[in-house]
């Protein structure tokens, strides 16, 4: 493989990312799957990088999940998004940062619609005014939260306490990166590196010392299409997509999977357990599965945050073997104690997937 060919493409697909003063909007479901991620993002931006980032207590879901399930009509979604922008404008901010990839895709889609059909934008402004009395400005800069971590990856590397290196062998960790579909597949020019060879996560892994693994089904969707996943009868199709990816990456022996979407890490983390139950097949070394991380968790790890503050105890595939490889210290006793020190409960033991208790 000739990496120079990829570098040319990475250079062609760059985009402007604002320096500071961000308006952050959270994901509707992400905090249930990975409770530490968004808190970690805010902590890194405020404390490690000294940036100004705010969020509004009245912001809602972008309704992308409903739109993609054919439940919420496009007009409603556009009006809700207009309200989100109004909250940003009222707070005096111009740089919009969504936490979720589906949201990011939704915002781009809506802005693109308004760009090509100004009469629709006018109508949405009227609808918003009628419903809430609010007015909005379109953001000057709209990027995904992972783009910001990408932009400051060198600064994070400088402040990091750990590198993505296996301390027993001295080798860089082999990490598979997976980009959420809505990051670049719809609007390739709005993704760093474009749609075919996205660079936003590759850049993080390489800057922090790891080795990126490319494999045949890298571009394949993980299967988290709301229309499929939400209905139990269709879930076989969803899990088959993730399984295809696991089977494809297996020969490359990845040591971790890095993602930037809410649904993808959820799938990769939980489906390994489901596949192990259904088919007696586990991935990763020694039946322990391949640990799955979000970009905030990885950033928090290299910066030396406590793994339990990052929410790693909620992962179904154990992250402890990876922490041991890097040398990140953790207190197993505190794993199932909440922030207030009280016991939060332990999961049951899986039949095939080896889980650390």
């Amino acid at each position: 493989m000739n990496i120079e060919g990829k570098k040319i493409i990475w250079k062609e697909y760059q985009k402007e990312i604002a320096e500071d003063d961000y308006f952050y909007v959270r994901s509707c479901v992400r905090q249930s799957f990975f409770p530490g991620s968004e808190t970690t993002f805010l902590r890194i931006l405020r404390e490690t990088l000294g940036k100004n980032i705010t969020e509004h207590p009245f912001h809602t879901t972008c309704t992308g999940i409903g739109y993609h399930s054919d439940i919420v009509p496009y007009e409603t979604t556009m009006t809700v998004i207009a309200r989100q922008f109004a909250l940003m404008t009222e707070s005096g901010y111009h740089n919009y940062v969504p936490s979720c990839i589906t949201s990011f895709g939704m915002y781009l889609e809506v802005l693109e619609t308004w760009h090509h059909f100004p009469e629709v934008e006018k109508k949405v402004r009227e609808l918003l005014k009628k419903a809430t009395g609010k007015e909005f400005e379109k953001p000057d800069n709209l990027v995904h939260a992972s783009d910001i971590i990408y932009k400051f990856r060198k600064e994070i590397a400088e402040k990091s306490k750990f590198r993505l290196i296996n301390r027993f062998t001295g080798e860089p960790l082999r990490i598979v990166e997976h980009i959420g579909c809505h990051y670049a597949k719809m609007f390739p020019s709005k993704g760093i590196g474009g749609a075919e060879y996205p660079h936003v996560l590759v850049g993080l892994i390489e800057e922090w010392g790891g080795e990126v693994i490319d494999y045949p089904e890298r571009r394949h969707c993980c299967g988290f299409g709301f229309r499929q996943y939400i209905v139990k009868a269709n879930r076989g199709y969803s899990i088959a997509c993730s399984q295809k990816k696991f089977e494809s990456m297996k020969p490359y022996r990845p040591e971790a999977i890095l993602t930037n979407c809410p649904g993808c890490p959820f799938f990769f983390d939980r489906w390994q357990y489901a596949i192990s139950e259904m088919e007696n097949v586990t991935y990763g070394e020694d039946g322990q599965g391949i640990p799955v991380l979000t970009y905030e968790e990885l950033a928090g790890m290299v910066l030396g945050n406590d793994p339990w503050d990052l929410g790693l105890q909620t992962h179904q595939v154990p992250v402890e073997p990876l922490l041991d490889k890097i040398g990140i210290p953790y207190d197993p006793e505190k794993k199932y104690l909440g922030k207030n020190g009280e016991y939060i409960g332990k999961p049951a033991i899986a039949a095939n997937l080896k889980f650390c208790h």
């Binding site: 493989m1 000739n2 990496i3 120079e4 060919g5 990829k6 040319i8 493409i9 474009g194 749609a195 075919e196 060879y197 494999y215 045949p216 890298r218 571009r219 020969p251 490359y252």
Partner: protein, 346 residues
């Protein structure tokens, strides 16, 4: 026709044919070519469809015909072109000025830059090459090895790379790639006994008289497999082989297979030399960005500008026999113009 002068920009098949045809009528011709060799793309080719005759037969014939009346300027570029009265003043990069009564543009095509089809991995995956790369292997090496130095057991050909593709802005068909793919498929089968060859196509454009026979020979004699389905993405496996994903449209199911070498049939696009002349002369191009003649059927070699003529692939993709015929047709129009006879369209 004594003492009339014609300047031809472009020393490929069209320029060479026009030069010798005009010179045969006593016209003084200056042939300007920016590369250090004449012959254009055909000069880089090994064998030509459909008969698989050596390309040197064509370029040899065309260059030998050039008489002393043709003044050949290779490694020469055009910097500026100006009109003074009925004459063309052409300033070259060596500061020489050529004065001509008529100017013929035969600046040809460039091959589509295959790396623009990012998902095919040209320039990234070692075993993805273009048809031109393969032809060079035939011409210069006389053998085919993949990037790992092994003899390929399976070779795939991808039709329509950079053609009929809205994503790269080329809606047109490049005409000659289908028959070239079949020709190269036969050549690979001939060179490597037991090699399995696959052509991944959308349509098979076997428009020339002997092209269908070549297609049948490819299937019957050489066992070339034709799969109707366009390549969606390629990937490099750990052993360097290329994973191909197409739909077998006739079976109605997606198909994956691995090949040791993947050949992309790059189409034709307007050449960089032609683009420069568009700027210098204010020429019209059509929506495919090729030069637009005054009338594609009736005045295919003329522009709206008196004394300026077009020949060859700078106006549209053409095969060699079509290019030669087109160059000869341009000569008739040029001579009519120089003669200012009733035949002249100006």
């Amino acid at each position: 026709m004594m003492e009339k002068k014609v300047a031809i920009i472009g020393g490929g098949v069209a320029g060479l044919e026009a030069a010798s045809s005009l010179a045969a009528f006593g016209i003084e011709v200056t042939l300007i070519e920016k590369e250090d060799q004449l012959g254009g793309h055909v000069g880089q080719w090994d064998r030509l469809f459909p008969s698989r005759r050596p390309a040197k037969e064509i370029t040899g014939y065309l260059t030998e015909k050039l008489s002393e009346k043709v003044s050949i300027l290779t490694s020469t570029e055009v910097k500026k072109i100006e009109r003074s009265g009925n004459a063309w003043n052409i300033l070259l990069n060596n500061s020489r000025i050529i004065v001509a009564d008529a100017l013929l543009l035969a600046t040809g095509f460039d091959l589509f830059e295959a790396r623009k089809k990012e998902e095919y991995g040209y320039g990234i995956y070692d075993n993805v090459i273009t048809s031109a790369d393969l032809e060079k292997k035939f011409a210069l090496e006389g053998k085919i090895r993949n990037a790992q130095g092994k003899v390929p057991e399976r070779v795939g050909f991808v039709h329509c790379v950079g053609s009929r593709d809205e994503k790269v802005g080329n809606l047109y068909c490049s005409r000659v790639c289908c028959v070239t793919a079949v020709k190269q498929a036969v050549e690979v089968s001939e060179m490597i006994t037991g090699c399995e060859v696959f052509c991944f196509y959308m349509d098979l454009r076997m428009f020339g008289l002997d092209f269908e026979a070549l297609y049948k020979e490819a299937q019957e004699k050489w066992g070339v497999h034709f799969i109707r389905g366009r390549l969606s993405e390629a990937f490099e496996n750990q052993d360097g082989s290329v994973l191909v994903k197409v739909e077998d449209t006739l079976a109605g199911r997606p198909l994956k297979m691995k090949v040791d070498l993947l050949v992309l049939m790059s189409g034709m696009v307007i050449s960089s030399g032609t683009k420069e002349l568009v700027d210098l002369l204010g020429l019209e191009t059509d929506e495919n960005r090729f030069l637009q003649p005054a009338d594609r059927q009736l005045k295919a070699n003329e522009t709206g500008i008196p004394g300026l003529f077009l020949a060859g692939t700078c106006t549209s993709p053409k095969s060699i026999d079509e290019t030669i015929a087109d160059a000869r047709a341009a000569c008739i129009r040029i001579m009519a113009y120089l003669n200012q006879s009733a035949v002249s369209s100006q």
